[in-house]
Symmetry: C2
Subunit: 68 residues, 2 copies
């Protein structure tokens, strides 16, 4: 899959800086940035799912403890 | 600045998923992923700089405290 990515001068400078700092190509930096963002989305979804399952179970206890 | 970004099928699917989940264009998702990665690089550099400046000042105290 190829797509044309349009970057502002500022964002292109950031990409250059990252590529230099990481010793990676701009392609690879963008790929890793994408994979990171995708992994964070899934971590957030998993956390939401676990909290949605666990919090109701402890609601009574949490209510007894009162506000922090 | 325009560049051609080549993505594997898997990475392209991740990008599609992010765009849908965030309600943003693929261009915008990539831009935000890039800016996030750049911000993290700078936070890490700032942390390294502060630790490099602060830790030596407390070396004597840390040595007295001994290993954790």
């Amino acid at each position: 899959m190829a797509m044309t990515l349009r970057l502002t001068e500022e964002d292109n400078a950031r990409l250059d800086e990252l590529a230099t700092a990481e010793g990676r190509s701009k392609q690879e930096v963008l790929r890793l940035a994408l994979v990171d963002r995708w992994a964070r989305l899934h971590k957030q979804e998993q956390l939401d799912e676990v909290l949605g399952r666990v919090l109701p179970r402890y609601r009574g206890l949490l209510d007894e403890l009162g506000p922090v």
